[in-house]
């Protein structure tokens, strides 16, 4: 909402600069986005160089046919000005720019010049040059009452500081100059002047209701509909002051009739519409809901197909306006219009909002109506507009008016317990101060035994409850006065849950191992399932899709993390980043049949494509292979004191021989494996990648929690190595399992420290070397103790795995 300061001060005599006022408004709840300047630059005394002049004489330029040589009375003397326009004569009052004057949008001030051999000391300005219109033929001729020698800006509001307000949706009353003036009066303590009043006198023997009939069929969507008739107007450009106001408000002058409706809207906040009476078919208007597929061409020239239920205004034949949003082309005011029907109405906010959104059509009118307007504005706006129509467009106000109102306005009475003010704000506000604030804001206050009874004015429908009144008091009284405190007597315990602590430990472990965290969008491209070669029946193909995505690349919620990781990896590769080892903690979104919401599961997933040991002049190493990935998963579980086992994974997007399902607590927790070459190809990745994804819930469940002490000090352990030869395809885990069973309870840990095939081992065989740790909790083990367990282990290996001891 643009509020030109000189317009505002018509209604409140505020003595602050624009910046001071903006600060005060910001601190009381009206955000000022910026302070801009409209029209003539005001700095450096520029406004003194634009004055009202009177053409004393106009002669032909001695050296140029198309130029005039004029003597112009500037009040202080006479200046000789050469002018190229033809639309004026001696005696006309004109807008004069004296040398040194800077026009809007120019870089250099005007200087005295010699034009075709004759000195010219100034310029007679056109409307376009002064910023009042986009095109102008000839110079601007001022009305007779313009004072010669006076500053032009004092006669026409040509130069203004403009406050650009961001009005919150609960305050449609501030979408008007008068509403802002009321607010400014309340927050500065200055007096608010009365609203624009003054009626035009109706003339003539006819009556509006004899000329046109107006009905409201759907009063639920139109609580009030008012209209007046102005006969015999002359459609013409608006006078300069009106154009200047329209321009300063950020609109475009059209003609006097349209400009007046816009001027009234800006002043009072009530959108208006002017119909050409001659083009209203059947001399009747009906406010009603549209039937399906009714059409209207709005004044922007677009054909709008309406849905059933949208509110419209129709004449005998067709819709003539989409209620509260935009008028129709057929009944639009044009140059030949003589009689106009002025509409001011109150339309239901929600209906206007929904229609506006459905049609994709927003206007100054709809943005006001959709917030819910004050019904009492209807007669005010009609009175103000009628007067201006008569004064400016030369019309006659036809006696009578239409005013169809569902029910008259009755102010709500809201009780206010004054002690609640302190209880909510934490600061005491004196009752006298409360009453003063509310009164300045337009409320009526009565003192009662148990507090105050507050009557809410029609323009503050947002205030319904005690707490709303407290907010009004707080913002005007000053939030800066509220003392900062902390809640007293807290009876709760804060902190991270154990699950949240585990999550932090896990991601920290990944970062410590060299993986960097990414955060990618939760929505991805639907083709991920094909790129990952998911089976047609794979349930990860079932996605939550967005109805209105920004692009197909961000149109479905991910059901797995890998597509995001591979996409990020590919992007970093193309940036020539090295050692791309990344992870993400976040959710996957799995639809649940029959449920509204989906199953959102937190996972920790990552992929490695480079060395985790860095690059150095020292010896390198650390390939991103399956075992690097598995090592990271081991680190992840170790960080939460959890454990897992593996099975062969059957994931179509992983290397069939270098991938594993991660099993924790007997449940599948995720996978780790090298990414399938065809998948890498689909993501334009030309280096090997190993990936993992672990469900956070399983990781948390596997966490041992508080670690229980075991005495590893008092009785030292005994270590032995054991090398055996087995079938080459025998999994190491099976060997370890047999060893564990046979070695219990003294065998504490088994560690595979070497695997070797070839050489003297024999075809189809491999040698596996194990390091065994024996320990007893209550004594130091003797050689004999260990030897017998070792023998049992060797026997079991021979029996169960056909293993040979390697000497």
């Amino acid at each position: 909402m643009k509020v030109p300061l000189t317009w505002l001060t018509e209604y409140v005599d505020v003595k602050l600069t624009a910046a001071e006022l903006a600060e005060r408004m910001a601190l009381t709840g009206t955000e000022v986005e910026r302070i801009s300047h409209a029209g003539l630059p005001a700095t450096g005394g520029n406004l003194d160089r634009f004055i009202v002049g009177k053409v004393a004489s106009r002669d032909r330029h001695p050296n140029a046919d198309k130029l005039s040589l004029c003597q112009v009375d500037t009040g202080a003397g006479t200046e000789q000005i050469v002018c190229g326009a033809a639309n004026f004569q001696a005696g006309d009052k004109v807008a004069v720019c004296l040398p040194g004057g800077l026009l809007p949008g120019r870089d250099e001030p005007l200087s005295a010049a010699v034009i075709r051999g004759v000195e010219s000391r100034g310029m007679m300005c056109s409307e376009a040059e002064l910023g009042l219109s986009t095109e102008a033929e000839g110079i601007m001729i001022l009305p007779e009452d313009a004072p010669v020698g006076g500053r032009l800006a004092d006669y026409i509001p040509l130069s203004d500081e403009v406050l650009e307000l961001e009005v919150t949706p609960n305050r449609p009353d501030c979408l008007s100059i008068y509403g802002v003036a009321r607010e400014v009066a309340a927050i500065t303590g200055r007096k608010l002047k009365p609203p624009p009043a003054g009626e035009a006198d109706p003339r003539g023997d006819d009556r509006i209701d004899e000329i046109i009939s107006v009905g409201v069929a759907d009063s639920d969507l139109c609580p009030r509909y008012g209209a007046r008739l102005i006969a015999g107007v002359k459609v013409a450009p608006s006078p300069p002051w009106l154009k200047a106001r329209i321009v300063a408000a950020g609109m475009r002058p059209v003609n006097n009739v349209v400009d007046i409706t816009n001027y009234v809207m800006w002043t009072l906040g009530e959108p208006m519409h002017a119909f050409d009476l001659a083009r209203i078919s059947g001399r009747q208007l009906m406010v009603r809901r549209a039937v399906k597929d009714e059409e209207i061409i709005t004044i922007d020239g677009t054909v709008r197909r309406l849905s059933a239920g949208m509110l419209l205004i129709a004449d005998a034949e067709k819709p003539v306006a989409v209620a509260g949003i935009m008028g129709g082309e057929t009944s639009e005011v044009s140059a030949g219009t003589t009689d106009i029907l002025l509409e001011a109405a109150n339309f239901q906010g929600r209906s206007v909002l929904e229609t506006s959104m459905a049609l994709g059509l927003r206007s100054e009118s709809s943005t006001r109506f959709e917030k819910g307007l004050d019904q009492e504005l209807v007669p005010q706006a009609l009175a103000m507009a009628s007067r201006l129509m008569v004064e400016i467009a030369g019309g006659r106000l036809v006696p009578g008016q239409i005013d169809i109102q569902q029910r008259p306005f009755l102010p709500e009475a809201v009780p206010l317990r004054t002690d609640r003010v302190e209880a909510l704000l934490g600061i005491a506000v004196p009752v006298a101060e409360i009453e003063a604030i509310l009164t300045r804001l337009g409320f009526e206050v009565e003192e009662k035994e148990d507090g105050l009874l507050v009557l809410v004015p029609s323009f503050r429908a947002d205030v319904e409850r005690e707490v709303d009144l407290i907010e009004e008091i707080a913002r005007v009284f000053g939030l800066e006065l509220v003392p900062p405190t902390l809640p007293s007597g807290m009876r709760v315990l804060g902190g991270l849950t154990s699950g949240q602590a585990v999550r932090r430990a896990a991601v920290r472990a990944l970062a410590e191992r060299g993986l960097s965290e990414i955060i990618s969008y939760s929505f991805i491209m639907p083709d991920f399932a094909d790129r990952l070669r998911l089976d047609p029946g794979d349930e990860r193909r079932q996605v939550v899709a967005l109805a209105n995505p920004l692009s197909v690349e961000q149109s479905v919620m991910r059901t797995m993390m890998l597509p995001s990781l591979l996409g990020t990896l590919a992007a970093n590769l193309s940036l020539q980043n090295q050692d791309i080892n990344i992870f993400e903690q976040g959710r996957i979104y799995l639809p649940v049949p029959g449920e509204k919401l989906c199953d959102e599961r937190r996972v920790i997933a990552g992929c490695l494509s480079g060395s985790l040991k860095g690059h150095s002049w020292l010896a390198g190493g650390g390939e991103a292979d399956f075992f690097a990935g598995k090592g990271i998963v081991e680190a992840l579980f170790a960080s939460v004191a959890g454990s897992f086992s593996v099975e062969r994974a059957e994931e179509t997007f992983l290397h069939p021989g270098k991938s594993a399902a991660v099993i924790a607590g007997g449940r599948r927790a995720g996978y780790v494996g090298e990414v399938h070459p065809l998948v890498l190809e689909a993501y334009d990745i030309d280096i090997p990648v190993v990936a993992f994804e672990i469900a956070e819930a399983e990781l948390i469940a596997s966490s041992a929690g508080i670690i229980v002490f075991a005495d590893l000090i008092t009785y030292p352990a005994s270590f032995q190595d054991l090398a055996i030869v087995v079938e080459e395809d025998l999994p190491a885990a099976e060997i370890v399992k047999v060893v564990r069973e046979a070695g219990a309870p003294l065998l504490q840990t088994v560690r595979v420290f070497d695997v070797y095939a070839g050489g003297s081992i024999g075809d189809g065989k491999k040698s596996v070397a194990l390091n065994l740790e024996f320990r007893s909790a209550d004594r130091t083990l003797t050689d004999e103790d260990v030897a017998s367990v070792r023998a049992a282990i060797i026997d079991a290996l021979k029996d169960k795995l056909n293993a040979a001891l390697r000497e």
């Binding site: 913002r475 809640p487 007597g489 709760v492 967005l546 990344i582």
Partner: protein
């Protein structure tokens, strides 16, 4: 060497010879290996001195004590000399070895690469830690949410103009399901489940259908909610002031500007004094000296109505902040989109 010993040595030419020769060789030895050779030669089991000492019983009785006494003295002196010489040689050899082992200390060390947590995570943790220190818990809720929790129960019924301020993503085929536009719906879910007092913060991803230089379609918020018997606006102010000081420095101040949110009343926006110019006015704060960091207010009684709290018995405040904005202000970032480009050059800076 004592004069007495020398006299005795002169008296026993054999011993003198042994002594002179051994002494000279010990002094001459340049390496510990050479010294060891000298030791074996002159003090070893097969040395002349050892033979002499062994042959004492065969000497004439008169000579025995003299040779025995002085022979052993010679041995002691030589052993001492040997030890002394060994110390010197070892020191020199160690010196030489260390000198040989000298490296180019200007070469880089062995890398132990570490990864980096995303700046958003680091910022989130810092916010979480601050509030958990004040006694808040951390709550979470769904990102794919119903219209009811995202809007209606937050006092924003259908047709409310505030709804159009949120550019909402909707779920296909389910008109009442959407991607949450803020973390506020979790307020409702927490209060539905738990009786007051409630002190929680709610971090998480939120979504709005907007993408340009200053908007990403996904971003992070942290919501805060405190509901108890006597919570006041002053408590909100004090809590957020402490937060601002913790995040942006002890010398920061905050100010509350009245604002409008459907689910708080009164509502405020909170500014922190500009950490770049300390309030003097600069480009970052648009010469106002203040930077907006969050929205807040006292929980609207209607919201309590939706969750079955008795509005006359409890009061509370709520606040919501954009994590990206906090991180950008703290670290002097200007381009929001960098958070989601996931360029490792960016991530590894922090």
């Amino acid at each position: 060497m004592s004069g007495d010993l020398r006299k005795q040595l002169e008296a026993h030419a054999g011993l003198a010879l042994i002594y002179e020769e051994a002494w000279a060789e010990i002094e001459r030895a340049e390496t510990t290996a050479g010294l060891e050779e000298a030791r074996v030669k002159h003090l070893g089991r097969k040395s002349q001195l050892s033979s002499l000492l062994r042959s004492i019983p065969e000497l004439p009785a008169a000579e025995r004590p003299v040779v025995g006494k002085f022979g052993n003295q010679v041995r002691t002196v030589l052993e001492a000399a040997l030890a002394e010489r060994k110390k010197v040689l070892e020191a020199a050899e160690l010196e030489r070895r260390l000198s040989r082992e000298s490296v180019d200390i200007t070469l880089p060390g062995q890398p132990f690469p570490r990864g980096h947590l995303h700046l958003i995570t680091q910022t989130l943790w810092q916010i979480e830690d601050f509030f958990s220190g004040l006694g808040y818990r951390i709550a979470e809720g769904p990102e794919v949410e119903t219209d009811y929790y995202n809007f209606t129960a937050l006092n924003t019924p259908e047709g409310h103009p505030a709804r159009s301020l949120h550019d909402t993503f909707f779920v296909e085929g389910k008109p009442e399901v959407l991607l949450r536009t803020h973390t506020s719906p979790v307020q409702i879910r927490v209060m539905e489940k738990e009786d007051p007092p409630v002190y929680v913060i709610i971090p998480g991803r939120v979504y709005r259908r907007d993408s340009d230089a200053t908007h990403t379609p996904m971003f992070h918020q942290v919501e805060g909610l405190a509901v108890d018997e006597h919570i006041t606006m002053g408590d909100l102010k004090g809590t957020l002031e402490a937060f601002a000081k913790s995040m942006f420095g002890a010398e920061r101040e905050i100010r509350l500007r009245p604002h409008y949110f459907p689910f708080t009343e009164p509502s405020v926006e909170v500014d922190v004094s500009c950490m770049i110019c300390s309030g003097a006015g600069c480009r970052s704060c648009k010469y106002s000296g203040w930077l907006e960091i969050l929205g807040a207010g006292m929980v609207d009684p209607n919201v309590f109505g939706f969750v079955g709290y008795e509005p006359d018995e409890v009061q509370g405040f709520a606040f919501g902040m954009g994590v990206e904005r906090i991180a950008m202000l703290r670290h002097g970032m200007t381009d929001l989109r960098m958070f989601y480009d996931n360029d490792l050059r960016f991530i590894k800076q922090f």
